[in-house]
Symmetry: C2
Subunit: 351 residues, 2 copies
């Protein structure tokens, strides 16, 4: 609970990461295989390297430590999601089975703390039909709140027809897809390396936003939202830069594609951004430096499309709360961002 | 000349494209060879396809038509640059010779209209030592105003030590580098295609900004500006998105690199953006939709770092002028953006 203009305001955080024992065991096996990849390097550091211990403990803690941190920061509910790239690393069979187990355990955690946690189901896009079934089970039986998909799977994007069963199930069950970052596919990662091969732009500094903005735009221009018009996609990190580009995207789509008769999407990119996307403030949580960006996003996509998120434990929850508390918006707009939009997008019962 | 609050204000446009006969001949040879590439597709369309005629005529016209258009829009001076990717398509020997010829002819054009045109020299990064010599000749003998480099050359970026002679010459002669977009290298272009192989995100809709933002960030994090602290880089398209990301770039660089002792750059990314970069408003020229983005950039990088540009003939010069005229800034700030910054960055004599 935070207070805005002296009145209490429920606070729901929507990009809050955790790691479960099953994922640790599975990533341990691929880490020890020595494969080189920026995502694997992150996994190795945060989960299997003593230097990552400061992040490891908060990632695995779903009990006292996390709940106390939430209390101190004023977060009422955390919608939990597995650390990226989740199960998307693994062979289809392993990934699909792991997803079922992880979702079961996530639902158990939420049942232990029903007023404090929600959760996003993981699925294995590399096994699309099983993923579609798991979405139905996760939403209808386990009552999870949506999905998290960590961008590409084996270098392929969700606009590919092979993944349509996933999008169809997400739309049918009302499961919003939190399209979380991971690094671009291995053959593109060279762009993120210095000339001597050293990674200099991987993960949160650039690889994540480069990859995830591309993925969101692929969904838009390939016409995915014409086929699945009720599909909802959530982007972290202030929309992965998309709000900045809406005018140019529309101008270039209109002139370069629609007028030439080569456009695959019926509407303009900005129309899909405003109708099918939500953005969260995750990872942009400095209460001074992030204010202009939050205010700019508010002017571009409006308060109905922005959700609170902190990116715990990779960034400070308290700092994210301070961004929202200091935003120069009306109390009503802050309430939208703090909890109302999240309740609607992620099917959370009002407090 | 435009009028701001009733007072005349000189207007210098800094990203104004043209094409010369020599480039037409050289691109005609590679177009007919049938090579597949997004940049080549643009060249084919604009320069060698009857459907591109509406752009072709304004690109080759450096006399009455262009000057009349400038008069009508209120542009006093256009700083001309060769259409991307300029000479960066060609074999090193061809490219280096072509650059010399093109720069000679550009200087002749400016001598015919010394009060109306400035020009950016082209160089062939694929022949670095010859490029360095050509920078000195272009700046000192031809008195051109800076350089244009169209992002990568053969998939390599200017942070590579092989290109340091170019950066050294640019710094020594005070030649600002207009880092203009082109599409990402061919092996990355697959990311910009629909699953059926059709290009859906090439060029101005996304490929350009994805490529150029990456290039600018590579220069920053690889420490190029520690080695060449006076080097000036100009980015079009409202800074190719960089202003949006300054906080996150700094946060991730500090935590992911500098604290780990693995950072190649001494300072934070935002410090280089604010000290070594200028951004132009090219390609973001809708007087309604671009106002929030311009105001946001003004708040992030300040009026001393923003230059006027129109991206002629790919976008409307009149529309770009309307963006600036309607900006909610002080007359002094508009004068900075309209001409003072350009005079300083590109060594233009005041009117």
């Amino acid at each position: 609970m935070i207070h805005i203009e002296g009145k209490p305001c429920r606070l729901i955080a929507t990009e809050e990461h955790y790691v479960a024992r099953e994922l640790l065991e599975a990533t341990g096996r691929i880490v020890s295989a020595g494969w080189q990849d920026l995502d694997l390097a992150d996994t190795r550091f945060f989960l299997h390297d003593p230097r990552g211990r400061a992040w490891f403990e908060p990632l695995v803690d779903l009990e006292e430590g996390r709940l106390r941190m939430m209390d101190e920061a004023g977060v009422d509910v955390a919608i939990l999601s597995l650390m990226a790239p989740g199960v998307q690393f693994f062979e289809p069979e392993t990934a699909a089975s792991l997803a079922v187990t992880l979702n079961d355990h996530l639902a158990e955690t939420i049942r232990r703390h029903p007023t404090r946690y929600g959760g996003l189901a993981v699925v294995a896009p590399q096994a699309p039909e099983r993923a579609a079934k798991e979405i139905e089970r996760a939403m209808r039986t386990l009552k999870l709140n949506g999905l998290v998909i960590n961008s590409h799977t084996g270098g392929e994007y969700l606009d590919h027809p092979k993944f349509w069963p996933i999008l169809e199930a997400a739309e049918a069950t009302g499961a919003a897809i939190y399209l979380h970052p991971r690094n671009p596919p291995p053959n593109v990662q060279r762009l993120l390396e210095a000339p001597d091969g050293r990674p200099v732009l991987g993960s949160g500094i650039w690889g994540f936003q480069m990859e995830t903005s591309l993925h969101a735009l692929r969904l838009i221009v390939c016409g995915v939202f014409d086929r699945f018009p009720k599909l909802k996609v959530v982007l972290g990190h202030m929309g992965e830069g998309l709000p900045y580009w809406l005018y140019r995207l529309d101008y270039m789509y209109e002139r370069g594609y629609r007028k030439q008769g080569t456009g695959l999407a019926k509407r303009l990119p900005s129309e899909y951004v405003r109708d099918n996307f939500f953005i969260t403030i995750s990872g942009m949580n400095d209460h001074r430096f992030s204010q202009p960006t939050l205010a700019y996003c508010h002017s571009i996509v409006g308060p109905d499309r922005i959700l609170f998120a902190s990116d715990h434990p990779f960034q400070s929850t308290q700092a994210a709360v301070d961004v929202l508390r200091n935003a120069p918006f009306s109390r009503q707009d802050i309430e939208q961002i703090a909890h109302r939009n999240s309740e609607s997008v992620f099917h959370m019962a009002p407090a």
